[in-house]
Subunit: 347 residues, 4 copies
């Protein structure tokens, strides 16, 4: 019988719980420990799990010699110190996005992971969605030729809670960063320049936070191809997650997933389903696939589908987009990189 | 300059007017004469046309040496005598469906046309619809292999006027005959047996007429393939005209035409257009194409896409279907043919 | 903590294994025992399960006082004796379809279950598919008015293994019975007459078995509505499972599920996915939902979504269809019922 | 009988011929004269028309007292002098887009038309496409709430001939101007700023012309809503013409028109038609509708659907886009307007 991977989870908020509930259904893994500052308030749920121990001190997990891999699901500001500590203890790491709000910190993470020789995967779950993956395969196959223009539509059904929004880092870091990663995943191109056009059209609260709720990001790739990301914090009909890649020989696109395929035709027209409600419904399978893929990399020692380097690249774009929103001008990636550039080339 | 075909139209009711209005837009034709018993009441419309003469006596058109081709658009009961007279005068003939309500009469028409060596086309307009034609081409190409099961959905948006229904010959002759022809056109198979299952679910008036308003016809082809025709006299959402051919290697089907491709997504779902309303909207282009094809056969002396023989075959199926509805049992085509069979083999 | 339902499974072939693997993921159930004549050859798989005991003698399970419910997944010919024995021991029963090949035997099962007052659910899994369920809800809501015509398309991607086909009871019992149940579920109508038109077009082996591989079944409901079932044992493109209900106010239909929503447009046309391959892919979730629903009925003492009575009604239609195939004529349900009719009225 | 509108056409190149061939089929119009510098080479075609006279000197048409309305279909550089001369002679004017390459000239045209009190319509044909019109109606109805983001996809199947490209004014004037007009038509919003991101990815010839072949234009409306135009000079699969308007309550979008609705399902997937080939196929009906609408305005003295003012607004955006492409920065409309602004306010 194959040895099970022993896992510790740091941070049992919304996303941490989601991962834990998925790990429970997987035979190849053993959940050894969970750490959270509010772990005492979760005893009902923890009792249904078969966990060795829980703790408020994440270092207990980092220092546990019987743990192979750690999932880092805390608020972003804690990511880098936890990941660096875990890497030093030779733990493999799955870290939610973004690695940090700060390029220097993220680079330190990359350095630590490289030095330790451990596997690190960043939580860009959409790469594991069967639709996006299929688009990736088709682009790679050459069926549509060289990509010329790529569009990503990514609209939430409703804004995140205000408490979250205040510390989310702004739209480029809490929403668009997923799309920036997707655009790199699908085209395999690197971005040269970002121009952001944003507005507050849904809720004035975002103005208070110096944030936007509606935005379009135009990207220029180094080869002249062009990318567009369309983001809204509220699509009343559900979670709108689509992409189109237009190339020299054709185009590939996806439609939204729906709950059923029923079509009703009456004198009022033809009525079919709307998109699934939100990421729990749409990316339900992708979240499982993401962990399975990570566990497989840990077991086989292979490169993860989303590396720490990918995480940092998406952060670069989020930084550029943030500057563009503030200064209302196109921003070159080179400008954001500045001194960190030289060190990034090592990765 | 190419000589224009000189045409006379006999019968200027709904369908006659439709054809005349289409002929007006075609450069290759000259409308010489129109005959109708009610022609005096149509002077406003006739005056907008550039017609040599009108008449109440169709024999004037039949005997006119300057007419090349005649469109027969009268009530069905007059078709055979007109067509036979026209054939004797060497006129090419376009005749609305069915040729007659009576196999013997239809056979006399075929005999007369053959003897005269003129072209005769029967008005199965759907063969000229771009969608059905494409299905025909795909089946013929072998892309879906050998047809195993074919479904035709053919539902009117509303029943024809009661005055018409009383003398329409019943559903098999006023609706299904189009589908019987289509099924032969698409499969290139011949039918061996018909079973009809019919009901009155929409309007009790059809019961008074000894007719049905809802029916399913199951056909067995000589090679064992199976056909299904679904007919309803009222689909509240419009003219439902679809087909699916399922074969050994795949299936081919069509969707209904709509007025526009707009899709509205709200919290109530995804709303798109319903089918076009009726045959004038759906087969608008096909009616023009039908005449263009006929005129081209007249000019070039080629075989029409819908021959008199095709007309008679569809009538055979309509007769079998009528018997099946009355006697509630499967009916063999052979049983309907009886003595006419030998003569039909000449065609 | 809620008491778990203790379950025994009789028959661990293809479908038994499928159910067991689904039960494993459910917290509300405890798999106590598995019986199968070949259980000795399954030790690898059994060892991964947490099962109290296995046995070759199903009576051990029937007599086990610590078992609440039994899943009967043996070949059909053993169903009735097992179900009757289990009912006498007050076990709740989930039985695969059909209950038996014989109306008398099935009636005995219904009698035994009624007398014992236990819950019995029959394995018509498609009622638990989200698409079909949605159609059921829409028809029930009255949105499309009264159903006039219902079509079911149900085509397998490839024939079942020959070994299975020889004892499957023929197409009406191994395929169409699912569609017969679906048609009753969706319309809530009862059938009066069945006409079957069948052929061997795919594999002559079916002729040897006195069976067909391609068939269309036309049903007449007691209220005059009409049903059509289209069955093929091989659709090269996958598992084709669709339905359309056409009613007085509109129509409702479903499309096939696909693996992804990707659309590729090139000069060759627009290419999208084909249907999922087979029932494991298409009804994966429905199989789980089916068991969850059964377990819920056991726990709460409510009526199952598919009762033994529903099972028997579908069998009646399968018997009528078999006679129709053999005698090539429409067959009344009344004719099949004969003496069993009176006893059936008790259920 | 209603008096026919007497029309003269100036310029009988590709688009002029298209309009003439459409006018021929309309009863409400009389084509009196055609002028073109190459008219002598068109005698074969002219002879099939029923035209009073042809001329190389367009002033003959301008001065003809028996002409009510003039269609201006010459190269763009001649538009303004012809339109101004025609307005002075009180002719109603249909002018192809753009009015001119120069804001001052276009303003002179608006002044002349206003002073003369004649009707002037600009040739933005897409406003007459049934799909776009339906989107316009739905946005206006409030069904999708207030527009937040609008996307226009507008890709040609192949580049225009090189001869044309050299004097087309560049992509913003020969392609995007249609989309700029559409975006104003659909949202009823005015634009504040344009940012253009363009590349040469298809044919280096465009670089020689100081032009681009692939571009994305991001627009900011005065109310904070955002617009995106996606343009390519070559979509190998055909004429890609789509739009999505996303609003506070939902979204509305259109799909491309296709030649047929056929769907073929085989083991290779589901294949359906690609978009129609080019504007002649896609906007065939819209071109007719455009002229019908113009003639109706002439007869009834009502405002045209596309006014000279609309023409000038689209030109403003094309100028801004051109500057943005050259200077690689967002450009405010206010900056382009400068001194012409005051005079524009009169219109």
């Amino acid at each position: 019988m194959v040895k099970k991977t022993s896992v510790g989870i740091i941070g049992a908020g919304k996303i941490g719980k989601l991962h834990i509930n998925n790990l429970v259904t997987m035979n190849e893994v053993n959940i050894r420990a969970i750490s959270d500052v509010y772990i005492d308030q979760m005893s009902d749920w923890v009792n249904t799990l078969d966990v060795k121990y829980t703790t408020k001190n994440y270092m207990e997990i980092v220092n546990d010699p019987d743990i192979d891999a750690i999932l880092v699901c805390t608020p972003t500001k804690l990511h880098s110190e936890i990941v660096i500590a875990a890497a030093e203890k030779k733990k493999h790491i799955f870290c939610e996005k973004p690695i940090s709000f700060n390029l220097e910190d993220s680079l330190k993470v990359l350095d630590a992971v490289k030095k330790a020789g451990v596997i690190m995967q960043v939580g860009f779950v959409r790469r594991f969605d069967r639709n996006f993956r299929q688009v990736h395969e088709i682009v790679k196959s050459g069926k549509i030729g060289t990509p010329h223009i790529i569009h990503i539509f990514s609209r939430d059904p409703e804004p995140a809670p205000r408490k979250y929004v205040r510390h989310s880092g702004g739209m480029p870091f809490d929403m668009t960063i997923h799309d920036f990663d997707m655009i790199r995943y699908l085209t395999q191109f690197e971005v040269e320049e970002v121009y952001a056009q944003g507005s507050v059209l849904i809720d004035p609260f975002f103005e208070e936070c110096n944030d936007v709720d509606t935005a379009v990001f135009t990207l220029r790739f180094t080869n002249g191809a062009i990318g567009v990301v369309d983001n809204s914090r509220r699509a009343e009909y559900g979670y709108d997650q689509r992409v189109e890649v237009f190339g020299s020989k054709g185009s590939v696109s996806i439609k939204n997933d729906t709950n059923h395929t029923v079509e009703v035709i009456t004198k009022d027209g033809t009525l079919s389903d709307k998109p699934k409600w939100f990421y729990l419904e749409r990316y339900n399978d992708a979240f499982k696939e993401e962990l399975r893929s990570f566990l497989n990399c840990v077991t086989t020692g292979t490169e993860p589908t989303v590396s720490a380097y990918d995480g940092l690249q998406a952060e670069l774009l989020a930084h550029a987009a943030t500057i563009s929103l503030q200064e209302k001008r196109p921003v070159k990636i080179q400008e954001v990189l500045k001194q960190t550039d030289l060190r990034l080339r090592d990765h």
